[in-house]
């Protein structure tokens, strides 16, 4: 967090934080090969004890919310807008968690696959859709004084994908 310069600390601290991060990475065996038994042993323990992730929830600052909008294009030219959805509120919280991860650069290689799967989950409910345009972006809420002046949230697109379903997949 400090190494990425996302805190109020002076930028001079970033360099030290980067060095500390390297030491921590080494201690956790992450510098070793993927099949290294020490690395695997440490990783297994961390996951089993639920301590593989940090404890900086909503810190140093509360991140923006993210939204995935799916533009459904039908054969007859109709256009509808949908978003991936679940039934329960707890599961909705998990979907939000997934969308926040999509915005993270570390998940960049998996973005297209994940967005495709999310689009496919909606596609199953609308089998006659010809094409889907998925637009992902950050939703920036208004500050309190902006809200008092009547301003609302703003949407900042980050990336989009077009998916078309092949005939054999439709079956």
């Amino acid at each position: 967090m400090i190494a990425q310069g996302s805190t109020i600390l002076h930028s001079a601290c970033n360099e030290y934080a980067q060095k500390a991060e390297l030491v921590a990475t080494w201690c956790l065996g992450k510098e070793a090969g993927a099949s290294n038994p020490v690395r695997r042993g440490i990783a297994t323990y961390l996951h089993a004890a639920g301590i593989q992730a940090g404890y900086s929830f909503f810190a140093p600052n509360v991140p923006s919310q993210h939204r995935l909008t799916l533009e459904l294009l039908y054969e007859d030219g109709r256009v509808e807008y949908e978003s991936p959805h679940v039934r329960g509120k707890t599961a909705a919280l998990r979907l939000e968690s997934l969308l926040d991860r999509l915005a993270d650069e570390r998940y960049e290689p998996a973005r297209e696959v994940l967005v495709k799967m999310l689009a496919f989950s909606v596609w199953r409910e609308h089998p006659d859709v010809k094409k889907i345009r998925a637009t992902f972006g950050a939703v920036n809420p208004p500050a309190m004084n902006e809200f008092e002046q009547g301003n609302t949230e703003t949407f900042q697109p980050m990336f989009s994908f077009d998916f078309s379903l092949r005939d054999d997949q439709k079956q």
């Binding site: 695997r40 996951h47 004890a49 404890y55 929830f57 329960g88 998990r94 979907l95 994940l114 500050a143």
Partner: protein, 327 residues
């Protein structure tokens, strides 16, 4: 004749070197004699937590954890990320592969897993088959947290941690049905004290890191982060119009949260300040649950705090139990 066992560090150390004294005090800190009341709180609280978790996810269970093409994103991506870390971490993929050998469909395996989790929660709440129930609850929950790793959030990590400690703690406690049925011998108070200490130290670490990270963000000092977190869907329980009325209280609340968390490891140990800090932390988690709809997160944190610091240390009772154990 009764022999009262004291904490290893409580022995009088006259004429010992400072290093040895320090070592004895350290061991005394790690192994304080405890009764199993805190363990009963942890067991029953986590039983309730597991039941609520399973019931909340009931309608989406298959949709979240089914393979690609059937579920939301398919569990394969999450499992691949987990397997990259280590193939020894359990996932639903293991259970589905095992079920295939028994001619069970993926859907049937997921249903059995859900029933097992709910049953383990009920058994933990009652204290029946406490240890096997704790192991099953930890294992199935870990499978869910790892297979749905992309969908996981803070409550999952804390649940895994709490169930991990519960599974390793000296179960059953004397409030459980297990104790009434089998009349088990009282557990070693030093071992009970050790596991409670582990939980206490872990909580201190969690709050200190969380508090420090918040202190390093400018938005916690002016209340803007509190505003952002409370109006951020899907956490919007309190209407923003109502929040605006408390706009002068938000910076104060934001700073209070930072200070409360970062100073937790200092003030939670002193008997004078423990109840104030514990009360404030419990109130904070209750407020998070009610105003942001993070019920699972709130419940698991309240249970962990109550088990770690909410049950008073009863040295005399623990020593008496210890004496009985020795006899």
């Amino acid at each position: 004749m009764q022999s009262v066992v004291k904490s290893p560090g409580s022995q009088i150390s006259v004429g010992l070197s400072p290093l040895r004294k320090f070592w004895q005090r350290f061991i005394g800190f790690l192994f304080p004699p405890e009764t199993d009341t805190w363990l009963a709180v942890l067991r029953s609280g986590l039983g309730l937590q597991v039941i609520v978790y399973a019931l909340f996810l009931r309608s989406d269970w298959h949709y979240l954890f089914a393979s690609s093409g059937k579920g939301l994103v398919g569990r394969e991506v999450g499992e691949a990320i987990t397997a990259f870390d280590s193939p020894l971490i359990p996932t639903f993929g293991w259970l589905v592969a095992f079920g295939r050998n028994l001619n069970m469909s993926e859907e049937a395996v997921l249903t059995v897993a859900w029933i097992a989790l709910l049953s383990a929660g009920c058994l933990l709440l009652l204290g029946l088959f406490s240890r096997p129930a704790a192991i099953v609850a930890w294992f199935v929950h870990l499978c869910a947290a790892e297979s749905g790793g992309l969908l996981a959030y803070g409550a999952d990590s804390f649940m895994t941690t709490a169930l991990f400690y519960l599974m390793l703690s000296p179960l059953p406690d004397h409030y459980s049905f297990d104790h009434w049925v089998t009349k088990t011998k009282p557990k070693n108070p030093l071992l009970l004290g050790f596991w409670r200490r582990v939980l206490q130290v872990h909580l201190c670490f969690i709050y200190f890191i969380g508090g420090l990270a918040k202190c390093l963000g400018n938005g916690w000092w002016d209340g803007s982060n509190l505003w952002r977190s409370l109006i951020r869907p899907p956490f919007t329980v309190v209407p923003p119009d109502m929040l605006v009325r408390f706009k002068y209280a938000l910076p104060l609340l934001g700073i209070s949260i930072c200070l409360l968390e970062v100073s937790y490891p200092i003030f939670i140990w002193s008997k004078r300040t423990r109840w104030i800090w514990l009360g404030c932390i419990l109130a904070m988690h209750a407020a998070i649950g009610l105003t942001m709809g993070l019920y699972l997160f709130a419940l698991v944190m309240i249970v962990m705090n109550l088990a770690a610091f909410g049950v008073p240390s009863t040295d005399k009772r623990a020593q008496a139990t210890s004496a009985t154990t020795e006899q």
